[in-house]
C-alpha cells in the first residue's frame, strides 16, 4: 500500500464521535453521504461562539453584536474564497441545499418561468432538486423534462443536447449523484445550457464535501450545497449565484434583515445577499461551516480526494469479490458513494445486520425514488466513504456482508 496522503489516524482522532462502540463493536461510520461527522475544530468554533460572542447580527449597537456580525461575515468570505466566488455577496446562507434550490425555484421561477417554458432535469436528481421544480411547474404551467441515465449510471449527454431548446429556461443537475456516486460533467452541461439561453443550477450537496470547487471555471449560474455533509453543522447551507442574477431576482422570504426600508405602503429590499436572508440567520451554523472549510483545507481537498480515490478502489475491489453483490453506478469518474444490492437480502435487513456489527449504512431509496424505479430496484444499501474512512472499515463491511449471506442463505 502506498503511503496515504495524510495521517489517517490523526484525522480520526479529530472526530470525537468515531471513538465509540455501537452494539458492542467499534463504530464503523459509512453513512457520510447522508451526514458527515464533525471534527473538534467545528464543535469548538460553535461552542466558542456561544460562550464568547453570541448576539444578533447586523444590529451592531453593542460589542457582542459587532463580534457576531464579523464572525458571520468572515464565514461568508471563507465560503466565497473556498469555492472561487468573485464576491462574498454571491454567498447566500440558507438551511441547506434543499432550501437553496427552493429559493431559486421560488424567486427566479416566479420572475422568469411561465406556461410553455421547460425546466430540464435529470432522472438521477435527489428529491430536493425535483420536488421544488414540480411545485413550480404546478404554479406556473411550465413543463419538466428529464435527461436519461444510462444502464452504467451516467447521464446520456446526447439525450441532454437533444432536449435543450429555446423553451428551456433552466437546467438543474446534480454534480455528484447521491445514489450512484457518479461525477457529472457539469461544466459541459452548463456551457450547453447557456448556448440554449437557459440558466444552469448545480446541486453540489454530494460534491462540495469531496471536490475542490471553482465557480468561475464551473460556469453554472447557481450552486447549492449543505454544511452538514462537509463536516459542518446541520441547518446551514449555501446558495452561490452570480451577483447580477441575484440582484435581479425578487426576494424569497420576507421579514427582518432583508429590507432597506419598510412602510405600511410597501418595502424596499436590502442589497444582496441580505435580500435573501430574512430573519435571524443560523449564525453559529455559518461560523461552524467556516471552521469546517478551514479544517478541510488544512488537510487539503486534493489530498482528501487522492486518499478517497485509493480507498474507493479498494472498496470496489473487495466488494466486487463478493458473489451476489451488485454495485450501481460506474467504476470511474465517481466518488465513494456505493449503492448496492446483495443476494435477495433486502437493504433494510442488511442495514439491521450491519448495525449489529457497529456498521452504519443507509438503506432505502435515498430520496431518489424515480432513479430507483429506473434502476429496477425498490431499495439499495448505501455505504459512503469520507476522509476519515479506513481500509479496515471496508474489510469490516465485507465481513459483515458475509454474515448477512450466512443468515439469509446459510453460506458466506
Amino acid at each position: 500500500m502506498v503511503a496515504p496522503p495524510y495521517d489517517i489516524e490523526a484525522v480520526r482522532r479529530d472526530f470525537p464521535i468515531l471513538e465509540q462502540k455501537v452494539n458492542g463493536q467499534a463504530l464503523v461510520y459509512l453513512d457520510s453521504a447522508a451526514s458527515s461527522q464533525r471534527p473538534r475544530a467545528v464543535i469548538d468554533a460553535v461552542r466558542r461562539h456561544y460562550e464568547t460572542s453570541h448576539a444578533n447580527v447586523h444590529r451592531g449597537a453593542h460589542e457582542l453584536s459587532v463580534r457576531a456580525t464579523e464572525a458571520y461575515e468572515d464565514a461568508r468570505a471563507c465560503v466565497a474564497a473556498h469555492i472561487g466566488a468573485e464576491d462574498a455577496a454571491e454567498i447566500v446562507f440558507v438551511r441547506g441545499a434543499t432550501e437553496a434550490i427552493n429559493l431559486v425555484a421560488g424567486s427566479l421561477g416566479k420572475a422568469h418561468i411561465g406556461p410553455g417554458d421547460e425546466i430540464l432535469l435529470t432522472k438521477m436528481e435527489h428529491h430536493s432538486n425535483l420536488v421544488p421544480w414540480q411545485l413550480l411547474a404546478e404554479r406556473t404551467g411550465a413543463t419538466l423534462r428529464f435527461v436519461d441515465v444510462s444502464p452504467e449510471g451516467r447521464l446520456v449527454l446526447d439525450d441532454y443536447a437533444r432536449m435543450l431548446s429555446e423553451r428551456t429556461r433552466l437546467v438543474g443537475v446534480t454534480h455528484i449523484s447521491n445514489s450512484l456516486g457518479v461525477i457529472n460533467p457539469v461544466r459541459e452541461i452548463a456551457a450547453l445550457a447557456h448556448e440554449a439561453g437557459a440558466f444552469c443550477l448545480v446541486d453540489g450537496a454530494q460534491a462540495a464535501p469531496h471536490l475542490a470547487l471553482d465557480m468561475g471555471a464551473l460556469g453554472c449560474d447557481f450552486y447549492a450545497f449543505s454544511g452538514h455533509k462537509m463536516c459542518g453543522p446541520t441547518g446551514i447551507g449555501v446558495l452561490w449565484a452570480r451577483r447580477a442574477i441575484l440582484e435581479e431576482m425578487p426576494p424569497y422570504q420576507g421579514g427582518g434583515e432583508m429590507i432597506a426600508s419598510v412602510t405600511l405602503a410597501g418595502s424596499t429590499w436590502a442589497a444582496v445577499p441580505h435580500k435573501f436572508e430574512a430573519g435571524t440567520p443560523n449564525i453559529a451554523g455559518a461560523i461552524g461551516l467556516g471552521a469546517a472549510i478551514r479544517y478541510l483545507n488544512t488537510i487539503g481537498l486534493d489530498a482528501i480526494r487522492r486518499y478517497e480515490t485509493e480507498l474507493l478502489g479498494y472498496a470496489l475491489e473487495r466488494l466486487g469479490e463478493i458473489e451476489g453483490l451488485r454495485i450501481y453506478g460506474p467504476t470511474d469518474e465517481r466518488v465513494g458513494v456505493l449503492s448496492f444490492t446483495y443476494l435477495d437480502v433486502h437493504a433494510h435487513d442488511l442495514a439491521t445486520i450491519l448495525d449489529q456489527r457497529g456498521i452504519a449504512i443507509r438503506a432505502g431509496h435515498h430520496c431518489n425514488q424515480p432513479l430507483m424505479e429506473h434502476l429496477g430496484v425498490d431499495a439499495t444499501a448505501r455505504a459512503s466513504l469520507y476522509l476519515y474512512s479506513t481500509f479496515q472499515e471496508v474489510d469490516a463491511l465485507c465481513e459483515a456482508l458475509h454474515l448477512a449471506g450466512e443468515i439469509f442463505c446459510g453460506s458466506a
Binding site: 433494510h348 443468515i407 439469509f408
Partner: protein, 174 residues
Amino acid sequence: MSERVNSPDGTSIDRSIPSTLSDLFQEVILDHYRRPRNKGPLEAPTHSITMNNPLCGDVIELSLSVQADRIAEVRYEGRGCSISQAAASMMTERLKGAKLGEARALSAKFTRLLHGEEEVQRDEKLGDLRALAGVSKFPVRIKCALLGFNCLDELVGKPVAGGREPRSGPGEHR
C-alpha cells in the same frame, strides 16, 4: 453457531451469528419471505387498501372478501424487507375464515408481541407470527412488522373496547 476463522493478518475473526440476529431472522420468517402464502390479487374483494412506509419504501396491499362478518378470503401483494413481507404472509394465514372480531383481537395480540410481552409469545392463535417476537429488540423495525396489520386495522377497524363495525368509507374499496 460459533465459528472463528483466521484472517490473512493472523487475527481471529468472530464469524458466529449473534443471537439477536438469529432470533430476528428465524428460518420460518425467511421461509415466508421467500415463499409467501396468499400472495397475489384477490378477485372482487369487499375491502382493499394499500399502505406504505415512506421512509423505507415497504408496500403492502391487503384485500379481503368479507361475508357475514367473516373473512372468507384474504390475499396480499407487496414488496419490501423480510420482516414486512413475512409478517403480512403470516397474518393472512391467521385471517382466513376469522370473524372480524377475531381479526381485531389478533391485531391487538400481535402489537403486544412486538412490545415484548412474554405472555403472548406462547399464544397459539398467533401461529407463525410468534416468530416475530425478536423484532421487539429492534425498535426501528417494529413499523416493518406492523405494516400488514396497519392495513388490517384500517379495513376492519382498530381493536377498541366493545368492538365496532368495519368502516367502509371512501378509498377503502377499489
